[in-house]
Symmetry: D2
């Protein structure tokens, strides 16, 4: 037992207008590590302390947004277990052979009620985190961690309708816990649900939006508020468009910066947040405290944060 | 699925010579929160960001050391599942009724091959973390987090013989992963095994010792290296005996201070360390790098650290 | 030689509507230390790591703003030297006897071209920083540093006309250096001048305003960005009105939060910034980079920051 | 006035056995910036946030130690003033023409009672800190700050006899303040004196040693304890010999790591410490608290720290 089933968001595929601009943003500036070249219309990145070949895929497209996201599951047999459960639930589940996605084993592919395409896979080849597994030491060679000093791809926030159905799939089928939720003060309508399958306060979250398959942000973990400040300094230096500068979320207690890639997709760098367990009480925020729920150091809701998605 | 079975070290019972001295150390100085008084020979503490009534129990005794440790499991039915598996393995499993341990549901109790008494329970009443669950905010009232600014009880390190058998129980029955291990350079004898059931690089670890049921340390999580420095300043101010001052472990990459309570039990405060998953490669250190494995900022093994246990 | 003449802003007197509200803000919440009670219409505070009896005076009044600020000078004889030089310059200099201001030696008092009342004094009794001067240790008793964990009163920013005249007095008579300045892109009109007599990037600054004797903010030094975040968490918790949440200044490179006291006076907590020397080149920002000059992590100028003064 | 006379240790010349090894240590690993090549037996480094061409000179020699150190003074005329005062005191003062030291104006050169050769100069050409002086921004291009992320050369600690005479020269002639001192408990013999001409708790310090002209360490400023930890990680990675790993000094309250260059010269990286003024009370430590005075987080004096000099 311990951690079983879905482990983490192991892969996110984001649509970008221009590959060169995307490389400059995610590679040169943010410092993500380009690990694979197989298709001139795609970029594959890993983040410094990840072991898998890649976690972020950028795909040239005519519109920004999220193409799909993929959860890594603990073992291969679970893929069939989930396929059956999802089919029972009523979703159409497609099987994809190993190798269709580079370095990756077989997958299932399906569309959530919110309109998002989700994958589940159990295997992706490992490239390591820049340190050996025998007597690894504690820090890779200089230059391996650079730019914004991102540690890992951490989570995604997605927008769409029917987020309560999404929630039910993640809790009922995948065993996630609702760590936090945002509801209307008037009638407790769920505006956002935050779901954890780990010790992180969220692995994925959904925000209510009229249109399906919307992308709010992909988030990268940093080691400290010092590194958050350092990232903020570089964001300012490069004049990267900022949505919300350094602040702390009420939800998750993470310290955060939101900014946009050249295609208008929102990125987050964050650090901190509490240690979550399945028996941690669910925290509920209502719209009377919308400012505090989103940005707790000035309690000020930002329209752009709530309404700009790609 | 997600996190199931054993969740965390939810309770550690440490033996102390003197209750008043222990209260001064753990309560007044470290700032743990005394939550329950039921027995003049015991002290019950929670750490600031924990929700359960208590995680640390101090028991008056003639000798220091660890009386028992207890893992919280996800749900009640798992207790019986584990009881059966442990019995099959050949351990004597004792059932303890709800209420024998304050605020706690029923438990099983058994002795590991290393000589340590371990409990498993699924329920303990919750007292909260100083913040409501509706619109909680991000920081409790001033004074709730104080002293060393500990966030949670994080893990224990225990010494005894047969640690490979312990490892097999934790991996085979409880589903833990070996995150790291320390072996002799000569013949790969396991000197220490680090076991994770979570995203933490270890939830429990065992170090090879000829005598059974030995206690190496209990560890408390801090939020940042700044808070680690603050704790170090207070440790110095109070002239608390220090085993190893601020450093970083090779194993787990945690930043650490080791010090002793008035009875000679080792405590740790730490912060950092990497995010662990069941598919993270196991890291192996051998004794050619003993210094780096233990204290990576000066690569200097400390005799006391390896040999002083209670 | 070394540091001579004016050493620091040793005292600021700020006008507040209500003494009880002010005490709640500056004392209970921010954690400044009330050290003297002599007049029911005034509050006297020191900051934790200062040795003098007080540095902040709050005075009940019908309007917010700054009543006066006072520089501590190195030695008594310099008072007369400055009095003569200021008189030569054409300012009316008033002599105030020792004891008129509590715990303070004699002063001179004069009005700058910008309309601000400035004092110079050489003596104020010392109350210490919570630690002895023989074998002091490194950290005072718990509770001495609390609230926002402010370390020192650091600087003031004042608004008024004729700030170039102010600059000339501070450089020509007091020997300050212009560390940075903000000018219009069109014709290099000085909009703000930042003046240092120390290793700090500014000890005092003036911002061009049509009306005289305006108060922009008083700033308190923190130890780290972690403490800045902690202060930000408390500011959010207490719902203190925030002008600009966590960011980094272009000017001075200080990490900052701006907020308002209950009377509408702007306060700052900050940390960092570079080490300044008299031979450090003067940095000039022009209005083409107004956003970056003020808030460099999102390059966004804030109207309120530039125009709201008391 | 403000800061006048001696401003800072602007240059230290350290003797090393091997230029290539020194370059690997100070340049490649520590990340100091090599700015000048003029002599195959010397290396010239600046630290990232300094504006002068160089502050550290390494000179090939048969023995390690300090060749000389040089203070930058505010203006040229002060050189003659100090030359006269030092001559009056009884020291032989040698005049050195501009250009003898690269990029440097004229100097005076003399030997302190402790046996150390000291220079005073008023001019050195500036190369800048990687950022323009018009609209500079807050962070140089990536790669400019690297390795240990040192910000500035901060101070030197030197050993020799007659340190009270040195103290009298620095206080009496140069106007420094004794910020702290270490005395024997028995008879108040001065074992170490810490002298400040700035807002730093020390610009130079002398430790009593029977032999003259001894070198204890040269110290480099870091921005935060996070950066100190990062430097510690690299020190461990490169297996640089460590004298004392991360700790906090009692004297100056600086957080520190001591390590050795390949020639056995001690280096320090540090951060923090209080803001000092000429009216800050002198702090006195006696040998009853030798551990706390030197390393306050474990109160443990280190023999090597007190006795190993080059």
């Amino acid at each position: 037992m311990a951690i079983r089933g879905l482990l983490r968001v192991g892969e996110v595929c984001v649509r970008v207008f221009d590959i060169d601009e995307a490389r400059r943003h995610y590679g040169e500036r943010m410092g993500l590590i380009e690990t694979y070249q197989g298709d001139p219309d795609k970029l594959y990145y890993k983040v410094a302390d990840e072991h898998d070949w890649y976690s972020l895929v950028l795909k040239k497209a005519d519109a920004p947004g999220v193409e799909y996201f993929a959860f890594r599951t603990y073992e291969d047999a679970e893929i069939d277990h989930f396929a059956a459960a999802l089919t029972d639930y009523g979703l159409a589940v497609e099987h994809v052979e190993a190798g269709v996605y580079p370095k990756s084993g077989r997958r299932i592919r399906f569309t959530l009620p919110s309109g998002h395409v989700m994958h589940i896979y159990a295997d992706k080849e490992k490239i390591g985190n820049g340190m050996p597994t025998r007597n690894p030491g504690t820090i890779p060679d200089e230059g391996y961690i650079r730019g914004f000093r991102c540690v890992r791809l951490d989570h995604v926030l997605l927008g769409g309708p029917d987020i309560v159905k999404n929630r039910d799939i993640f809790t009922g089928i995948f065993g996630f816990t609702v760590s936090e939720e945002l509801v209307t003060q008037e009638d407790e309508t769920r505006l956002a649900v935050f779901l954890s399958c780990s010790n992180k306060p969220h692995d994925i979250a959904f925000i209510l939006q009229p249109e399906g398959s919307r992308f709010h942000h992909v988030s990268f973990l940093l080691d400290s508020v010092n590194d958050l400040f350092h990232a903020g300094d570089l964001i300012g230096k490069y004049e990267i468009p900022v949505d919300v500068s350094v602040n702390r979320h009420g939800v998750t207690r993470g310290a955060t910066i939101y900014f946009f890639d050249p295609s208008g997709n929102r990125n987050e760098v964050f650090t901190g947040g509490y240690v979550h367990y399945p028996d941690t009480p669910t925290l509920t925020w209502d719209t009377s405290q919308l400012g505090k729920a989103t940005f707790s150091q000035d309690n000020m809701p930002r329209d752009s944060f709530l309404n700009v998605l790609t």
